[in-house]
Amino acid sequence: MIDVKNLSKSFGDNLVLDHIDQHIYPGEKVVVIGPSGSGKSTFLRCLNLLEIPTAGTITFDGVEVTDPKADIDKIRQQMGMVFQHFNLFPNMTIRKNITLAPVQTKLMSQAEADDTATTLLKRVGLTEKADAYPAQLSGGQKQRIAIVRALAMKPKLMLFDEPTSALDPEMVGEVLEVMKELAVGGMTMVVVTHEMGFAREVGSRVLFMDEGHVMEEGKPEDIFSRPQNPRLQEFLSKVLH
């Protein structure tokens, strides 16, 4: 589904991603773990071109995303993204947050979008918040809305950039629950996270990144039970206690 070839990204002299090759298959749940500064968020943000790669190509469903002539808006409509800090639009109600993009990109009429919003809000148990503003929601609720907002575009792929890192501990569960349901539903997902439990339970493949490289990858059982790379062993010993 996504083919990443030779992807490099540097900010000034700082090389953040160093010649990454990856292929993400439809239905896969790829979980990216690694210490901070390892380039995992940058890798994710390159996939929908929020960061412009310095070198290399990314192909999504046969379309080259990194081609300067590519219609990036069209491509992004098929890739949902969830941010660490939710980034809900504070000047709009929850319903407007969800329906704005489907309506403005002419994917749906306002009525269809409203129906979609209602259905999705029901799925995450936030029907009664439709006319509230983001400021009135808890962090966990905001992030569930952010997921719904991305889903309203009916994406083929969902990108999660540390979706639970800014949450109070007691709210992490409700967000992971929504993500698990999404995974069970067959959505292709790329998740950058520090939630090792989630990676082990939901991931179909885990990538361990450090210093701009994918140091080790494999099935969650192998990564967590039989880590080969010394950096991964060190990382896991620090985060799993």
Partner: protein, 256 residues
Amino acid sequence: MGLAQTYELWRELMLQGDASWWQEFFVRFYQAFLENNRWQQYLEGVGTTLLVTAMALILGVVLGVVVAMVRTAHDQQRPGQRNFLLGVINFICKVYVTVIRGTPMMVQILIMGLVIFASSRNFTMVGTLTLGINSGAYVAEIIRGGLMSLDPGQMEAGRSLGLNYLDTMRFIVIPQAFKAILPALGNEFIILLKDTSMISVIGGQELIYFARNILNRTFDAMFPLVGSACIYLVLVLIFTWLQGKLERRLRQSDRR
């Protein structure tokens, strides 16, 4: 005994040096505002002042929005994909802001009135145009500051949903930026209102123009000038109050 007769009587006293201070005050007040229905001239001046302010404000905001959009769009381009035309327009905008902010308003008015539009007789319009162009440069920087101060995550969220740059600006960035810059915009509006007084140097017929005319008739500077100052102050107070109301209303909407 009517006001006019009282005035005649007390003026005689004043010329003989026999008037008390409050009689003199009345005479000078009468000369400055009531004699020959001079209050009508102040009223006309205030009308022109408000009209000039409104027109200059519209011009300033239009110019400011355009310049701010160009400058922001230019700065937010993807590296390696810079648009040449946008670069040229951006450069022009930068020169405009630099020149306007780098030279005194009074000099700009004199140059516009006596050099560029030297043959024009419509001094008020030339003055209005100058004020609008001047205000545009400041408004542009205010708006640009507002757009830049917004969390970049808002733009990213809009774009990641597949909205294009202009739609993201229109629905997400600008409405939030507007609320943030309202105090600064209100301040700019008040400065503009007061700066209209400067167009009288090229013959723009606003409040100070009439006040100076009356001063030249009566040879009394204090009453026309202090009176005009009071009028400006009252106008500014009214607009400050209105601005405060608008801000409170906008703030309410995000705490519902």
